[in-house]
């Protein structure tokens, strides 16, 4: 496996080129950030199917809706802050309510955007998007899986939101791996000590944490929970039955994201202790991506400490007593 670090936003550029070749009806809309979202490669190759609406995210979403209502296959991308933040009502009313198959790509998710600071560091997009009925919400953990998820999103019947990042990250999967459907998850490491559900950049951190935990004789089960909505309920529940405790790690506010989704699921069906590794009620700020990741506690070390805590509190099955 290649160990080259590469951002998930780069996957958007690659996926669009692949899609453009096969899908005649594909239209890519942009609000003047194609170089940053990596839609620029598609724009250069298929200028007649690319629309730069200028700096107007609300209008971009409405135009995307109009195109989809006239049977175009639409991908719309901007920075997650501006896409989901600025145009939320347009997404809600014009895309989600009529359940239009528009693929919304939020790049620059999370604090690892870096130096640009808080306005550009979206930490509530997963929450906002998973609240909308029948909208699929994905957060891929590496470049290779992001490409597949962006391409597969096209076969989902309703709207899809995919959160991507700017920071180059190490690979989790082989490039040839293609098993990433909406509503799915990947069990990356088996174990009976603690379940770690993670998405985005935190999947790699979770795998590192699992290595450290293993040295302490706790075998962690690591799940790449890239599908935040619909949630892969059966995979999470069966893991919780095995381990009796859970840690959820995400580059998002503790409120509203994957952590709350998993907690709710477990509370309802199989209550076990759940601890969250996420950003606690704080906006981002300027800094290097690595500094910010450490400052906001989005690290393997934090997952290890949460996992220990969860493990000591774990629900024990009667025959283990």
């Amino acid at each position: 496996m290649t160990t080259e670090r590469i951002s998930t936003r780069d996957a958007y550029g690659a996926a669009l080129l692949a899609l453009g070749e096969h899908i005649e009806s594909l239209v890519v809309v942009d609000a003047d950030v194609a170089s940053s979202t990596r839609a620029a490669a598609f724009a250069a190759k298929y200028p007649e199917r690319y629309l730069n609406l200028g700096v107007s995210e609300q209008n971009m979403i409405l135009v995307a809706a109009g195109l989809a209502l006239c049977d175009r296959t639409v991908y719309a991308a901007s920075f997650a802050s501006f896409l989901v933040g600025r145009a939320y009502e347009q997404i809600r009313d014009a895309i989600a309510l009529p359940s239009l198959p528009v693929r919304l790509i939020g790049t620059h998710g999370g604090v690892t955007v870096g130096e640009d600071g808080a306005t550009h560091q979206m930490l509530e997009d997963l929450a906002l998007m998973r609240l909308l009925p029948d909208v699929a919400v994905l957060c891929p953990s590496d470049y290779a899986s992001a490409i597949v998820q962006i391409c597969n999103a096209n076969s989902w019947k309703g709207p899809v939101y995919i959160r991507l990042g700017r920071m180059p990250i190490p690979p989790v999967y082989e490039r040839s791996d293609s098993d990433f459907h909406v509503g799915g998850a990947r069990l990356l490491r088996e174990g009976d000590g603690v379940t770690i559900c993670a998405c985005g950049i935190m999947v790699h951190e979770a795998l590192e944490a699992a290595t450290i935990l293993s040295q302490q004789n706790i075998e962690a089960e690591v799940i790449d929970c890239y599908s935040i909505s619909p949630l892969p309920a059966e995979i999470i529940l069966s893991s919780a039955h095995r381990t009796g405790c859970c840690v959820v790690a995400e580059e998002h506010f503790r409120k509203g994201g994957l952590g709350e989704a998993v907690t709710h699921l477990l509370c309802e069906h199989y209550p076990v202790p759940v601890l969250s590794v996420a950003v606690k009620d704080l906006f981002g700020q300027s800094g290097t991506p690595e500094e910010l990741q450490a400052y906001y506690g989005l690290t393997a070390e934090r997952i290890v400490s949460a996992a220990f805590q969860a493990w000591t509190l774990r629900r024990r099955s009667p025959d283990a007593l």
């Binding site: 239209v27 007649e48 199917r49 629309l51 609406l53 200028g54 107007s56 609300q58 209008n59 979403i61 409405l62 135009v63 995307a64 809706a65 109009g66 195109l67 989809a68 209502l69 006239c70 049977d71 175009r72 009502e89 347009q90 009313d93 014009a94 309510l97 009529p98 359940s99």
Partner: protein, 294 residues
């Protein structure tokens, strides 16, 4: 300027009769629902009748044809007028009108695409329709199917920033297949538009955004037809600023004694319907060929 023929007198009379009957159904459906925006629905009835019987190439038989013209009611709260027009045009059974705003109904309080035959786009929150129309027109251009996209907007919603983002895009892309009709009734929720957040000069603003603009009497289909001829072009989007009277056709609505929030009780429904009956008779008498049709 393209030559667009005047509407022949006999056709005009039939259209005016249709509009009066649509008005009656609007009063009835809002009366039955005891809820809905009556005043702003009545200001757009003539515009909708004109669009659906003279301008738009749409029909219930080709309801999902990809080459059909599209219509977006940006002022979604005026949907009783659209629903009654669509029923009149045969898109669905007239009986559906009586369940408007009821739980589970096909006819929602604001239009929802994919739920009602003939509704091309969802709307309700103001300021969203024109952007959707821009997307539809771009899709038509890309697919080599230059259908017309008409968007009917309220004047109040021209205060929304997104309308001007869309207006800028329509001008930039020279979307000549877009027809924006602005229902210029000069009122919005809390008062008069020019007192609350002045829109004028609306025509010059749109022209500055690359639009062709004409004014019309929004209650005269002949005037609307003339305005369309004036703005029709191959290189710019067109807008008709249609001067209308809120609640047009019913005196106690026109004079403002009935407020939008007042319930349309049975007595008022009866008063409104009687007035519309009288209006229908007067309309017939005013046309040379009218007596023969009555």
């Amino acid at each position: 300027m393209t030559e667009i023929p005047r509407i022949p007198e006999t056709d005009l009379l039939r259209l005016e009769q249709r509009a009066i009957n649509v008005r009656k159904d609007v009063v009835r459906m809002i009366g039955v629902a005891r809820s809905g925006h009556l005043v702003s629905s009545l200001s757009i009835v003539d515009i909708l009748t004109w669009l659906y019987w003279r301008v738009l190439r749409v029909s219930p038989e080709d309801e999902s044809s990809s080459a059909r013209d599209r219509f977006v009611l940006s002022k979604g709260h005026g949907c009783p007028a659209l629903y009654a027009t669509l029923a009149d045009r045969g898109f669905f059974r007239r009986e559906e009108l009586w369940s408007y705003r009821r739980l589970g109904a096909m006819l929602q309080g604001h239009p929802v695409a994919n739920r009602t035959p003939g509704i091309d786009a969802s709307s309700g929150s103001l300021g969203m329709g024109l952007g959707i129309a821009v997307g539809m027109a771009l899709a038509g251009r890309m697919s080599g199917s230059p259908y017309r996209v008409a968007c009917l907007a309220g004047d109040g919603e021209m205060q929304e920033g997104a309308m001007w983002e869309a207006a800028m895009a329509a001008g930039h892309f020279r979307l000549s297949r877009i027809l924006l009709v602005i229902d210029r009734n000069h009122v919005q929720m809390e008062g008069k538009t020019e007192d609350i957040m002045g829109l004028e000069p609306l025509d010059e603003k749109l022209r500055a955004f690359g639009w062709r603009v004409a004014h019309a009497d929004g209650h005269s289909m002949q005037s609307l037809q003339q305005a369309l001829a004036e703005i029709d072009s191959s290189d710019a989007p067109g807008a008709v600023i249609a001067k209308t009277i809120p609640g047009h056709g019913v005196s106690f609505l026109e004079n403002g004694s009935f407020r939008g929030k007042d319930v349309l009780n049975r007595q008022r429904v009866e008063m409104a319907l009687r007035e519309l009956e009288v209006l229908e008779q007067e309309t017939l008498r005013s046309h040379p060929s009218g007596e023969a049709l009555s």
